[in-house]
C-alpha cells in the first residue's frame, strides 16, 4: 500500500470503518512510513478533540411533555392520560368488608362502611391502573430490562427497604421483562413487568405490614386487577389481558414462590 492510498483510507480506519485486512495493511504501512504515521497521530488527536469538546445538547425537560401532549391530541395510545398523583394517605381497603357487610345487612352502618371501603379500594385501583398506563405511555415500563430474575432481583437491592420476590415465569407463558420502582399506596413499591403476547403485566409488590390485601379481582375501564397477600407482601397485578388470564398469572406466580 502506498502513501496516497493510505491517506485516502486513514480517516475511515480511525472511524473504525475499514475491514480487518485493510486495517492491517494500513498499520503495516505506518510502521515503514514516518510521514503517514505522523498524519495518523494528528488525525487521531483531531478526532479525540472533536469528541471531547463538542457538546451533545440535551432536549429541554419540557420538550418531552410538549411532544407527548401534541401526540395525545393526535390520538396516541387511545388510553386516558395518566391520572394526577394520589395523596400519600391512600390505604388499601379491607375488601372482605364487602362480604361481611352483605351477611349483616340489617346493621344500619353497613351502607356507610361499605361505601368507604369501596371508595378507598377504587383509589388504590385507580392509582395502580394509572401507573400501569403511564408505564406503557412514557416508555418507562422498565428501569432494569432483563428476563433474568438473577439480574432483576439484585437491581432492587439498595433501592427499596425490602427484597421483593422475583421469578421468571417464561416456561408458563409469562416471561419476565424487567422491573422498576413505583410509588403506590403511599410508599415505595417494586413493579415487576411480565409479558403475555404483546401485553404487559405490571405486578406491584410492597410489604403488607398492618394492611394486608385480600384475594380479590377487579375491573376498571377495561383493565383488570388482581390482588393477594403472601409471605408478608402485598401483590397487585394489573393488565389489559382478560380477568381469567390474569387469574392464571396470579396462581402461577404464587405457586412459583
Amino acid at each position: 500500500m502506498d502513501c496516497s492510498e493510505t491517506r485516502r483510507r486513514i480517516e475511515a480506519d480511525i472511524d473504525g470503518e475499514l475491514d480487518l485486512v485493510r486495517h492491517l495493511e494500513l498499520a503495516a504501512h505506518r510502521q515503514e512510513c514516518p510521514e503517514c504515521a505522523r498524519l495518523d497521530e494528528t488525525l487521531r488527536a483531531r478526532r479525540a478533540a472533536l469528541r471531547e469538546a463538542l457538546p451533545r445538547f440535551s432536549a429541554p425537560s419540557q420538550l418531552r411533555g410538549k411532544v407527548l401532549a401534541a401526540l395525545r391530541a393526535e390520538g396516541m395510545g387511545g388510553a386516558a392520560p395518566a391520572a394526577p398523583m394520589r395523596p400519600a394517605w391512600v390505604i388499601w381497603p379491607n375488601w372482605n368488608l364487602v362480604g361481611v357487610a352483605a351477611s349483616i345487612a340489617m346493621a344500619l352502618f353497613v351502607g356507610y362502611s361499605w361505601g368507604q371501603a369501596r371508595a378507598r379500594g377504587n383509589l388504590l385501583l385507580d392509582e395502580a391502573i394509572s401507573d400501569h398506563i403511564r408505564s406503557l405511555q412514557f416508555n418507562h415500563l422498565s428501569d432494569v430490562v432483563s428476563a433474568d430474575q438473577h439480574t432483576v432481583k439484585p437491581w432492587f437491592a439498595g433501592k427499596l427497604d425490602f427484597a421483593p420476590p422475583v421469578v421468571d415465569l417464561a416456561s408458563s407463558g409469562f416471561p419476565l421483562a424487567g422491573g422498576r420502582l413505583e410509588h403506590l399506596a403511599g410508599r415505595p413499591a417494586a413493579a415487576l413487568v411480565f409479558r403475555r403476547r404483546q401485553h404487559a403485566i405490571n405486578l406491584f409488590i410492597w410489604p403488607a405490614g398492618a394492611d394486608p390485601v385480600s384475594d380479590r379481582q377487579a375491573e376498571l375501564n377495561g383493565y383488570h386487577a388482581r390482588s393477594w397477600c403472601h409471605g408478608g407482601f402485598n401483590f397487585l397485578a394489573v393488565s389489559e389481558i382478560s380477568a381469567a388470564e390474569l387469574g392464571q398469572f396470579a396462581e402461577i406466580f404464587q405457586a412459583a414462590n
Binding site: 480517516e11 472533536l50 463538542l54 457538546p55 451533545r56 440535551s58 411532544v67 393526535e74 428476563a147
Partner: protein
C-alpha cells in the same frame, strides 16, 4: 429494546421517544437556535408519529434523525439562497493542510471548536454531529443524510478539513495558535 416483543407493532413511545436527546442535538446544531430546534423536534415527532407504520427495524434513532433532518432543511431552505443539491466540492477539499499537528489538536480550546463547527455549512455540521457526537456508523449517516456511503466518507473528510481551516481563521484573530 429487549423488552419489546417482535410481533408487536412499533410504537412512538418505545422506539422513538428514547431518542429525543439525539433529535434535539441534531436540530440544535443544524438550526443553531434552541427555540427553532424545539419547534423542529416537535414537528418531526408529529411526522414520525403519523408515519410510524412505515418504520421497520429495531433502531428508531436513524429513522427519527432522518425526519428531524428533513424538517430542519425545510426551515434552512427558507432562509438561504444556496443551490440544491449541496455541492461538497465547492465547500472544501480533501487535501491535508500541512500546518496542523497532533500537539495543536490536543491544545485546541473546546469553545473554539464549537465556534468553528457553527461556521461550517449545514451539511458539514450534520456529518460531524452524526459521526463524532452521535457516534453513528457511515452506513447510518448515509441513511439519515440520504447519500451513498462513499459520499459520507468524503464529506466527513472535507468537513473536518474545513473545520480545521475555520479554526485557523478563528485562532488567527485571537492568539498565535498551532492550528
Amino acid at each position: 429494546m429487549e423488552a419489546s416483543v417482535p410481533s408487536a407493532p412499533p410504537t412512538f413511545e418505545q422506539h422513538l421517544l428514547p431518542h429525543m436527546d439525539a433529535a434535539y442535538n441534531l436540530a440544535r446544531w443544524l438550526l443553531r437556535d434552541p427555540h427553532d430546534a424545539e419547534d423542529a423536534v416537535q414537528e418531526a415527532c408529529l411526522r414520525a408519529f403519523r408515519a410510524i407504520g412505515r418504520f421497520r427495524g429495531s433502531d428508531g434513532r436513524p429513522w427519527l434523525l432522518a425526519i428531524v433532518r428533513n424538517v430542519c432543511y425545510s426551515q434552512l431552505r427558507r432562509n438561504r439562497s444556496e443551490p440544491e443539491p449541496f455541492d461538497d466540492e465547492a465547500h472544501g477539499s480533501t487535501h491535508d493542510p500541512a500546518e496542523a499537528n497532533a500537539v495543536a489538536w490536543r491544545e485546541v480550546k473546546g469553545e473554539l471548536l464549537r465556534q468553528g463547527l457553527e461556521r461550517l455549512p449545514a451539511e458539514f455540521r450534520e456529518a460531524i454531529v452524526l459521526r463524532e457526537i452521535e457516534g453513528l456508523s457511515y452506513r447510518e449517516v448515509a441513511e439519515i443524510s440520504e447519500i451513498p456511503v462513499g459520499t459520507v466518507m468524503s464529506r466527513l473528510a472535507r468537513a473536518r478539513r474545513r473545520l480545521q481551516a475555520e479554526l485557523l481563521a478563528l485562532a488567527g484573530k485571537e492568539s498565535p495558535h498551532g492550528l
